[in-house]
Subunit: 256 residues, 2 copies
């Protein structure tokens, strides 16, 4: 069993170390991850500049390959140029901080798994609430067990599972729920500051406004201490609007 | 009528100038766009460093605001900190090069419009095939006419229209089609090269493998010289897989 692991927090993050260690119980793990933190880069890919591949060592032992690019870059160059064969499954994480609701759009963690799904590989992204998480053992255990289930049951081509795990010890977890992407969004606030030269600059802050209040959503599930598992795909067509727009007579735009 | 215009090719691109000029026929245009080209940045947002806002002049006249960030950043800071009121409609483009099929995932042009859709604003992204396009007049005309139709008919909240226009004079356009996101993907190839110091580096190249052969898809529509209009949303839940997974007994993962 060949397992590829990536993330967006960077190859030196504790979350990816915990995930790699646990997944070794299932098969041969290769870590290919960004050299530096790439949070919120979404599905960016690097085209204007070249990439480099560096062997990365931890405590003197080979740990994996560091790429000076984005999570999606890591998947692309990792599978095309580093691995000799396609992996059986791809995992991304364990991310420091949840990736639920609108954050799925911005997340590099989810995008690494999505790039795998684009390549028709089964993929799982795993995130843990709290940016200060240090113990990833339960989230890693979930990743391993869910990987076994994915390999057994199969996933539709083009689908990944986006997993969010509360930052709690195992005995405090309320359960595991199959969920949908929530609708909570950010109230972006740009803090205006003045630099040492008297010029203004703006720093993005804000809070997630939690409008989800049903356990069917990823956002509310983790708030209520459940592990949330959401199947995510990359077919962005809005079929409901597509059907409504059949009445629009778009062809008439030509005649205007 | 207040119109916000952004793009991913940068504020100095000819496509955004053509779009801004045409859209002035409909109302008051504000341009807020990346200072430098941001192609393929996807839905990246800037959190680790601050942003700056610069007034940008063309031929001595004020043209708009340049942001040293991504397309999604431009929408966020533009609406929160530059505009005094929410715009009535947002347009992104006109992009040099199509944004169809899998490219919707990577596109900064589409992501600017998607960020507007996240803010519940009607939004249209416009791209023109060919990276060498110089005459954007027909695509700009389509953008204006479609904007009028969107303002008249309304769009579902959270939906944007992704428009692709062949790089052809108006009389050679075959028609206008309502489409769905195609399934064509890239055969990524990383060219391996050696730098002046003897070290390897890798540059992303490749071709879009056109597997779409039905005019119902954006990819095939533009290939056959049609304007393609696809409604796109950001609900990434795979509902088909969601329903299948109800049989997975995920709760049992806890007991393992």
């Amino acid at each position: 069993m060949k397992i590829l692991i990536s993330n967006d927090d960077g190859i030196d993050s504790p979350g990816i170390a915990a995930l790699a260690k646990e997944m070794k119980k299932l098969g041969e793990v290769t870590v290919i991850a960004p050299r530096t933190e790439q949070s919120a880069v979404g599905h960016a890919i690097t085209m204007k500049i070249p990439l480099r591949i560096t062997e990365y060592y931890k405590n003197g032992d080979f740990f994996g390959y560091a790429i000076d690019g984005t999570p999606a870059d890591c998947l692309k160059i990792g599978i095309r140029n580093i691995l000799k064969t396609r992996p059986d499954i791809v995992l991304s994480g364990i991310n420091n901080g949840s990736n639920t609701a609108i954050n799925i759009i911005y997340s590099g963690t989810v995008s690494a798994a999505r790039e795998a799904a684009i390549m028709d590989l089964p993929a799982i992204s795993v995130s843990q609430t709290s940016h200060d998480a240090r113990d990833f053992s339960y989230a890693a255990e979930i990743a391993l067990k869910l990987s076994k289930q994915v390999l057994e049951n199969g996933l539709s081509k083009g689908t990944l599972l986006n997993v969010n795990v509360p930052n709690l010890p195992k005995e405090k977890i309320a359960g595991i729920l199959l969920t949908q992407q929530g609708k909570s969004k950010w109230d972006d606030v740009y803090e205006e500051r003045i630099d040492p030269y008297g010029k203004k600059y703006y720093w993005l802050t804000g809070n997630l406004i939690e409008t989800d209040n049903d356990l069917i959503t990823d956002q509310h599930a983790i708030k209520k201490n459940y592990v949330s598992i959401t199947p995510v795909h990359f077919d962005l067509t809005d079929y409901k609007m597509y059907n409504e727009m059949k009445a629009w007579e778009l062809e008439n735009l030509m005649k205007l």
